[in-house]
Amino acid sequence: MERRTIIGVMGGDHSVGATASDAKRVGALVTRTQSILLTGGRCNDNTKVKDAAMKGAKDEQSRTGDIARLMGIVPDGPRDWDESQDYCLFVTTNLSHKERDAINGVTPDVLIFLRVAPGRSVSWRSPYRRRGPSCFGGPRKS
């Protein structure tokens, strides 16, 4: 069976304001396209990009019935693989934030970075994993 595309969403650990709505929108769209959303967070807080994206994905599932497929690769420890929720995996890595970031940088097929301040969002298509443009930027949708 062919696996689904894994789309990573990153945005730092800052609490976000307006960007949260963008992150939720990205999460909702990932659910709508039936891809897998990978972030460094969980669904238990929506003030950071990583959590807001997951919240958006889950909200879309509640709204439409489409399945939200979520993977959270989180720092610190001890190591744990939490598969208790359907279509979800949360791995506690027992690594520091920066070490964990290395995993989240190389695991997805595509990475979308959402910056905190108004400006440009960026999507990065890994040159090691897929053909086509390696990255491109797009303005935030206001």
Binding site: M1, L29, I103, V106, V110, R131, F136
Partner: protein, 104 residues
């Protein structure tokens, strides 16, 4: 992102971040695509700079960004890039099995 590269190259944050990631790749993670024995912080920084130089501007909104992200590339997706944990045997395989299950 280009502006941030310039800013954080000057203040050393890019190198600091890449050094931590490279150290993790060498001591705590399994095989990481693109990281070889001869890979250095400088070579990673050059790869990043090259990627930024080749970046194409994208004029669409977030909906278009996600749509472009999942655009088919004409070949089946292989294993993900998850490297596995150095201290957990078969963690790469475990992750790939879960990806398949979640994909169903």
């Amino acid at each position: 992102m280009r502006n941030k590269y310039e800013e954080h190259t000057a203040d050393g944050e890019v190198d600091e971040f890449l050094a931590a990631a490279l150290s993790a790749c060498r001591t705590k993670l399994g095989s990481v695509s693109g990281v070889q024995s001869e890979t250095t912080v400088s070579s990673l920084r050059r790869t990043l700079l090259s990627g930024l130089a080749q970046a194409e501007d994208f004029s669409g909104g977030i909906d278009d960004l996600v749509a472009e992200s999942i655009r088919p590339v004409g070949k089946p997706l292989g294993a993900s890039g998850f490297p596995g944990f150095w201290d957990e045997l078969n963690s790469k395989e475990r992750f790939e099995r879960i990806v398949e299950r979640i994909s169903s």
